[in-house]
């Protein structure tokens, strides 16, 4: 029978091994001149969450002409526990959104994607971390959002990307995002929120090329309790990696205004 000291050592060792497996050797993280983790770079997720943040199997797409190109790829969700705690009315609305998704998803219209959807859209984004504030530029629709790292500012007006106030908790960048409008969705499956949405994001680097990303979603008008998504962000390591221009307005105009063009809409030709 092991003595108390041995038990203690065993527990300590195990804890150390687990910590090493799950966490970071923080001494190896790239750091800024100010000693904070250096999150600068181009990042992207590897996930089908933009199709559906919950677990989903493969499905046919809406347009047979696109064949396998237009199909919905399968994916394991990013929602912790997979359940989204909709209030009863909101659950109906989600179902309705899903039924209308090929007409109603704001992504079809090239609207700014909101937070956290901007993170797991299938496009890269770049973190610009200055000595003061942080700017995130997303390739999709040239969306960009400043993160105020000084004294927190209240949202003066509702917006698509919200108002972001950031702070460091150890090596984690914590960003509180408030002041959203009710126009964005979380995915192409119709998961949605109201203008009472508040998002708290946590960016925790675990090595030079990986950030653990978590976002806690709070919206008492839509959900019975806060819930959380988590997934890794990977550094885009291609030597020529650059954010390119995806100004998608032009690709949405026929969809949005086609019924107002002179003569028949392209869809009716």
């Amino acid at each position: 029978m092991p003595g108390r000291l041995q038990k203690c050592i065993f527990v300590l060792l195990s804890a150390g091994i687990i910590a090493a497996a799950n966490r970071t050797d923080v001494s190896k993280l790239p750091r800024t001149a100010g000693g904070k983790p250096d999150l600068n770079g181009i990042w992207q997720t590897i996930t089908t969450a933009n199709w559906d943040i919950q677990d989903h199997g493969a499905q046919a797409g809406p347009f047979f002409q696109l064949g396998a190109i237009g199909a919905v790829p399968p994916g394991q969700g990013i929602v912790e526990g997979n359940e989204i705690p909709y209030l009863p009315q909101a659950a109906l609305k989600k179902k309705e959104n899903l039924a209308n998704r090929w007409k109603a998803d704001p992504e079809l219209k090239c609207y700014m994607p909101g937070v956290p959807r901007a993170t797991y859209l299938p496009y890269p984004f770049q973190i610009i971390q200055s000595q003061k504030d942080i700017l995130i530029v997303y390739e999709y629709a040239t969306t960009n959002r400043p993160i105020n790292m000084a004294k927190p500012q209240e949202a003066v007006v509702d917006s698509w990307m919200g108002t972001s106030n950031g702070r460091w908790e150890g090596d984690t960048l914590v960003v509180d995002v408030t002041g959203f409008n009710d126009q964005t969705w979380f995915d192409r499956a119709g998961n949605f929120h109201s203008d009472a949405l508040q998002v708290t994001e946590r960016y925790t680097p675990i090595d030079a090329n990986t950030i653990n990303y978590q976002a806690t979603i709070t919206d008492p008008k839509v959900f019975s309790r806060p819930w959380r998504i988590s997934l890794p962000l990977y550094r885009v390591r291609d030597t020529n990696a650059r954010l390119l221009e995806f100004k998608c307005v032009e690709f949405s105009e026929e969809f949005l205004y086609g019924n107002l063009r002179k003569g028949p809409a392209n869809s009716e030709k």
């Binding site: 800024t32 001149a33 100010g34 600068n40 219209k109 090239c110 609207y111 700014m112 770049q126 973190i127 610009i128 971390q129 200055s130 000595q131 003061k132 504030d133 700017l135 530029v137 040239t142 969306t143 960009n144 959002r145 400043p146 007006v157 917006s159 698509w160 990307m161 126009q183 020529n240 650059r242 954010l243 390119l244 221009e245 100004k247 307005v249 032009e250 949405s252 105009e253 949005l256 205004y257 107002l260 063009r261 002179k262 003569g263």
Partner: protein, 329 residues
Amino acid sequence: MKSELLAVVIICAAANPLPAQTAWKTPKTPWGDPDLQGVWPSSSMLMTPLERDPKLGARNVLTDQEYRVKAMMSKVIKNGLEGATPSPRVNIGAGWADYGVPDRQASLVIDPPDGRIPPLTPEAQQREALRLSHYKVKHNAPDTWEDLTMWERCISLGVVGSVLPLVYNHGNQIVQSPGYVVFRNEMVHEARIIPVNGAKHIAPAIRQYMGDSIGHWEGSTLVVETTNFNGKAVIGMGGGFEGAGTLPTESLQITERFNRTDERTIAYRATIEDPNTWTKPWTIEFPLRKDDSYNTLYEYACHEGNIFMYDVLSGARAQEKPDEGAAAK
């Protein structure tokens, strides 16, 4: 009198950044680059036209008399805007527009020395005449959104249009990180990422509204060369609004210089060249000035709220129906 003289000296200094600015030393970022960060609206230059009044010739500094006229005009515009009554359709009244401050600089174009944009090449003259005649016919009764400008469609004002003074939401912000400078333009929410780390231009096959920018430092001045344009963004005030400006081709190249001349001023210069469009390069230059009342860029969700597009297109369709016109009488 004394303060007026001082203002003249300051304004002249701002209008011409080339003389040695020995007193001012550009601060550095922790990683050693010149620090240009901050919000730099172009609003203060709203009263200064792009091209110079031909009467002034090669003189780009206004006389006292000319300056007084400009100041008076500025006041009239300011009073007009502040006294505006809200329209019932779009709930904006006073306060949405800026009016700038009078400035001694006579034109934003500084080269050619007469402050006039050089003539178009013969081929470009034909091309532009065709484009503008189409614009005149179609703009007020568009067949499709494609008959409207890139600004009205909320796509892009392009590199030059995004920084030229505009009457509203013309904030610019510079954010830097090691190896990068980002130039944000509030209107149509541009964020041009400029590598200053020795990166090369993207492949010629990739064309973009805002082109592809690569920067380097010359002393404390940021020099940015932009290529890879798609030739779809008009160069001029307001992205081609009211038929202004010229549509360049894909061979457009823009060289910009951002020179922080003091705590509150960046001398901004852009040389525009496209041998398929203009007979020679031309250069604009003006100060981007900090403004304590303008230190935040708001989210400019232009396309998201573009009810103009529905109104204009549905209006054009309604006008095509003869019955409705008759019924209205």
